[in-house]
């Protein structure tokens, strides 16, 4: 049985891109929300978009198996 749905390259590409985009979207939403309610525009958006970018990169690298799983020291 093939593992992790990595059987096709298309599935892998979709998986990695959705992981990456999810981080950025979440960062953008949080930043925009903070600006909207705290009136700190544009700093919330800038900070959280960058954080979201980092989180998205971490997500993508983790699901590609390049970074150790969270909480553990071991590489997987």
């Amino acid at each position: 049985m093939r593992r992790q749905g990595e059987s096709s390259n298309l599935a892998k590409a979709l998986r990695l891109s959705s992981e990456f985009v999810a981080g950025i979207v979440l960062g953008g939403l949080i930043g925009w929300g903070i600006d909207h309610f705290a009136g700190s525009s544009p700093w919330g958006l800038i900070v959280f978009l960058l954080l979201g970018f980092a989180a998205g990169t971490l997500n993508a690298m983790r699901s590609a198996g390049l970074v150790a799983e969270r909480g553990t020291g071991k590489k997987d």
Binding site: S8, R15, E19, V21, A22, G23, L26, N59, G71, T72
Partner: protein, 248 residues
Amino acid sequence: MDPIHQFNITKFYILGHIGGHEIAITNSALFMFAAVAIIIGGMLIATARRSLVPGRAQSVVETSYEFVADMVRQSAGESGMKFFPLVFTLFSFILVLNMFGMIPGLFAVTSHIVVTVFLSLVVFLTVVIYGFWHNGFKFLKLFVPSGVPVYILPLIVAIEVMSFFSRPISHSVRLFANILAGHITLKVFAGFVALLGGLGIAGWVGALLPLALTVALTALELLVAFLQAYVFAILTCIYLNDAIHPGH
């Protein structure tokens, strides 16, 4: 001919109103009920005989049990088996709904993001609630990787938290986007066949290419329908693993 038309929600029977919102049995709800009925009915019928040497239907059920059980054991460990009912329910529910979508004329429930977001929130809340209940505040160690210098720790923790909260997004969008894009592509290519066919004899010859592509895409979409149910289930196991063993 409109490729989006197939995703329309139609109301069949209006049950009543809650807080100004209409509560109705829609085609989406109807297909979900049908999926649950097929899964439960199929399981009950297939396992009714309980023969030692399984028949065809019984071995399908047994194989799917083994398939999901292996997935849970490998990704979440032996103690993850307490979540087997959740994972098996999600897997079979999504698989049957995706397969419904592949039958021409039927409605693809998983092409609506509200459905997939709810499914992924069920998983996310299970992870958070069970994680805190099982581990207490040690669950927060999930966000603190070991061996990181103190001066960049706040940044790393912030990134880890963001990464954790982006999971339900990627979890739900992946399923929704795959099914939505697949169905639109199929509809567009199938639409080309009819459009070209309207041009006469030369059109029918030209229509062979999109027709062949539609057949090939249907096969691909069948694979995607299975694969996305599988990916959803295996990610559920991986996320549950964090709740069961945070920080090891």
